[in-house]
């Protein structure tokens, strides 16, 4: 008899496996993006099951709400909707599948072989107060340095994305002059 937890885990993991395989095999790019959205939402469900509510909310807003929308926008800008990819060559397909399946089997055998020592320590509550203190404290379990590095990285990425995607920078090729 399965408990509710196990049923939810089975549901989420089945959704993750099925939709991630569909993401990499679907021949219509917009559908692949929507399957990716399903994978990310089911992953947020797994985070809820593990009691990381904050991270699940981050996953939903940032991944499912931000990155997937960005990907769908760029799909709409760069491809035709009804267009189908021609499938990859048979040889490439076979060897890639072989590499992926053998790697997965090797990893799973090792995981099942390893004896993880179960812990008996009581779980600590992960609420917003703990997360905020952890992100900004400077003592030995604080994360203020990576926090600052990530904020610099985000600014650099924002400026870099604007500069790269800007139209008509120095060295813009012929397409500008053709239009004139």
């Amino acid at each position: 008899m399965m408990t509710g937890n196990q049923i939810m885990f089975a549901l989420f993991s089945a959704m993750i496996v099925a939709f991630s395989i569909l993401t990499v095999t679907s021949r219509r790019i917009l559908r692949a993006a929507v399957y990716l959205l399903f994978v990310l939402v089911s992953t947020a469900g797994l985070y809820f099951m593990l009691n990381y509510q904050f991270l699940a909310a981050i996953q939903l807003t940032l991944y499912a709400g931000g990155i997937v929308v960005l990907i769908i926008f760029s799909v709409l800008l760069t491809s035709h909707i009804g267009q189908k990819f021609e499938p990859a060559g048979l040889k490439k397909n076979i060897f890639s599948a072989l590499a992926a399946i053998s790697g997965a089997i090797l990893t799973i055998i090792n995981i099942l072989d390893y004896k993880f020592s179960a812990t008996t320590i009581a779980a600590s509550e992960v609420d917003m107060r703990v997360i905020g203190k952890g992100l900004l404290s400077v003592d030995h379990d604080g994360f203020v340095l990576p926090f600052e590095v990530v904020s610099v990285l985000l600014i650099a990425a924002m400026i870099g994305a604007i500069v790269v995607a800007k139209k008509g920078g120095p060295g813009e090729p012929e397409s500008e002059t053709v239009n004139k």
Partner: protein, 105 residues
């Protein structure tokens, strides 16, 4: 909490997701679908971090912070990658990796 779900199940799930991403990364030719495979790979790593943290070190929150930073880096990476993809499309009118083989400015 997670009664009846061993840690290994989470790890196996993450491994399957990771290698699906690897397969997509190797077979896809469209730059955006390659980016989607990379997102799958990063996501599976996050599941691993959180499962290890919850099952083996439940009194600490290091794994959660690692996942948080991985998500931040993934967002930055996706933004820059899509800017580059759009720029490539503007120059070559295609984002097929086999047709984009010139690095001339």
């Amino acid at each position: 909490m997670n009664t009846g779900i061993p840690l290994q199940y989470f790890l196996i799930l993450a491994a399957i997701m990771f290698f699906t991403g690897i397969y997509g990364f190797l077979t896809r030719r469209n730059l955006i679908t390659i980016l989607m495979s990379v997102e799958l790979i990063l996501n599976s790593v996050n599941i691993n971090f959180l499962a290890f943290n919850r099952y083996l070190y439940p009194h600490k929150i290091e794994g959660m912070f690692f996942s948080l930073f991985v998500i931040a880096v993934a967002a930055a990476e996706a933004a820059v990658a899509i800017a580059i993809i759009i720029n490539i499309y503007r120059r070559f009118t295609t984002i097929n990796v086999e047709d984009v083989n010139v690095m001339k400015f």
